[in-house]
């Protein structure tokens, strides 16, 4: 296990608790803090699901069941509004994306150095508690959705999808002799368009959360190093930013969920003849 960096300021707080397997290959490392926090959140979600599952009542729901049912109802309605067909995987996928990202994002409103300092007590030099601030998690979720989109495109309308990659929109516009020349260009542009979907999903979430964390660090530095005025102003600015960031976290979770549904919905659209 190796731990990175000893720089001061904000940059000093942007290192992960990293386990390196190969010093020369940057891919061969794992962010233990991200893995630990995602596994912890996932475990809490699963345990909560099992706990709630054992207490479900088919009568009028109350309390926790009522709250979770309202979330499931909201997700079901969103899927129904955007999806042309019935696919039993989409709604649970959307629910997991929404709740998981929201819970990950919500960790950001904890005091900036709290979990880092707790980890420091155990000898861990760097610890970043918010998993969505690590590009690996948004990218993993974006790629998972993208793989599902490709799976359904090839499963439901393989010929149409290949035809679209090769001919839409440019190849169809040129005369037949020019088609072989335009086709590779069309293919490259379509691949870029398709790859932009998971990339935009991942970077939108990562960018928002990363920027939010940087602003929290700025506020905390203001609070800790600006004297009485800095502390008072830092407290109120921090409080306001926490509330705003909570909303941003919810919004980003919703955007990730709705775009995943839309991309999967496009893959399920019937072919028009």
């Amino acid at each position: 296990m190796a731990q990175q960096g000893h720089e001061g300021g904000i940059a000093g707080h942007l290192h992960y608790w990293t386990l390196q397997f190969d010093q020369h290959n940057p891919f061969m490392q794992i962010h233990l803090d991200t893995m630990l926090m995602t596994i912890a959140i996932a475990t809490v979600m699963v345990l909560f699901s099992k706990w709630l599952g054992a207490r479900l009542t088919s009568g009028a729901p109350t309390g926790t069941q009522n709250f979770i049912e309202s979330i499931i109802d909201f997700v079901n309605q969103t899927v129904k509004d955007n999806f042309p067909t019935n696919n039993p995987l989409i709604a649970p996928l959307a629910l997991t994306i929404f709740v998981f990202i929201f819970l990950c994002n919500t960790l950001d409103i904890l005091p900036s150095f709290l979990i880092g300092n707790i980890a420091g007590l155990f000898g861990i030099e760097h610890f970043r508690p918010v998993p969505t601030n690590d590009l690996n998690l948004p990218a993993a979720m974006g790629i998972s959705v993208f793989i599902l989109v490709l799976y359904y495109e090839f499963k439901l309308k393989p010929l149409h999808f290949c035809k679209e990659l090769l001919f839409e929109p440019f190849t169809n516009l040129v005369p037949t002799p020019l088609k072989p020349i335009i086709m590779p260009i069309n293919l490259i542009l379509k691949l870029v368009e398709e790859l932009a979907k998971p990339l935009s999903l991942a970077f939108r979430l990562f960018g928002n959360m990363f920027a939010g964390e940087v602003i929290f660090l700025l506020i905390s530095f203001l609070l800790l190093s600006g004297g009485i005025v800095g502390m008072v102003s830092g407290f109120f600015v921090g409080l306001a930013w926490s509330i705003f960031h909570l909303f941003i976290g919810l919004l980003q979770a919703f955007i990730f969920m709705i775009l995943s549904i839309v991309y999967l919905s496009i893959a399920h659209q019937p072919v028009e003849h």
Partner: protein, 160 residues
């Protein structure tokens, strides 16, 4: 900011979480919500059917009430008509009886009068005979006097 083995780990965590959430939360809750929705829809349909049945029953009751009222009216009219007929018959019968009684009374009266007249005539004749006998005994023929007396009586009674 780098992509490394964490990326693979996160894919595993995410897909496992999707599977477990579907199995333990979404699946059971969605099934239960659908069952509840179906039950509510069934209840609403039953309530609608009940309302419809109530309306049908109400219409049927009104129809039967109207029929019963019409039937009662018909029976009443028939009874009134029959009552009037019975009254009329009774009046006719009573009138006929009365006429019969009156006629019978008249006949009886006439017969009685006739009898009384005959009896009186006989009695008067006897009296006259008796008187005449007494006279004749004294001086005249009985047969001649009897005829004379009857002639006188007949004339007198005819005038009476």
């Amino acid at each position: 900011m780098s992509i490394d083995l964490t990326f693979i780990g996160q894919i595993v965590v995410f897909l496992t979480l999707v599977y477990l959430m579907k199995k333990h939360l979404y699946g059971p809750m969605n099934d239960m919500m659908e069952a509840r929705s179906a039950k509510i829809a069934e209840g609403l349909a039953a309530a609608d059917a009940g309302l419809e049945a109530k309306e049908i029953a109400k219409a049927e009751i009104e129809k039967q009430m109207a029929e019963a009222r019409a039937e009662a009216q018909r029976i009443l009219s028939k009874a009134e008509k029959r009552s009037a007929e019975i009254n009329e018959e009774a009046i006719h019968k009573a009138r006929a009886n009365a006429e019969q009684i009156v006629a019978s009374g008249k006949e009886e009266l006439t017969a009685e009068v006739e009898r009384a007249r005959q009896a009186l005539r006989k009695e008067v004749a006897n009296i006259a005979i008796t008187a005449a006998e007494q006279i004749v005994q004294a001086e005249l023929d009985a047969k001649r006097h009897t005829a004379l007396i009857e002639q006188i009586i007949e004339r007198e009674y005819s005038q009476a």
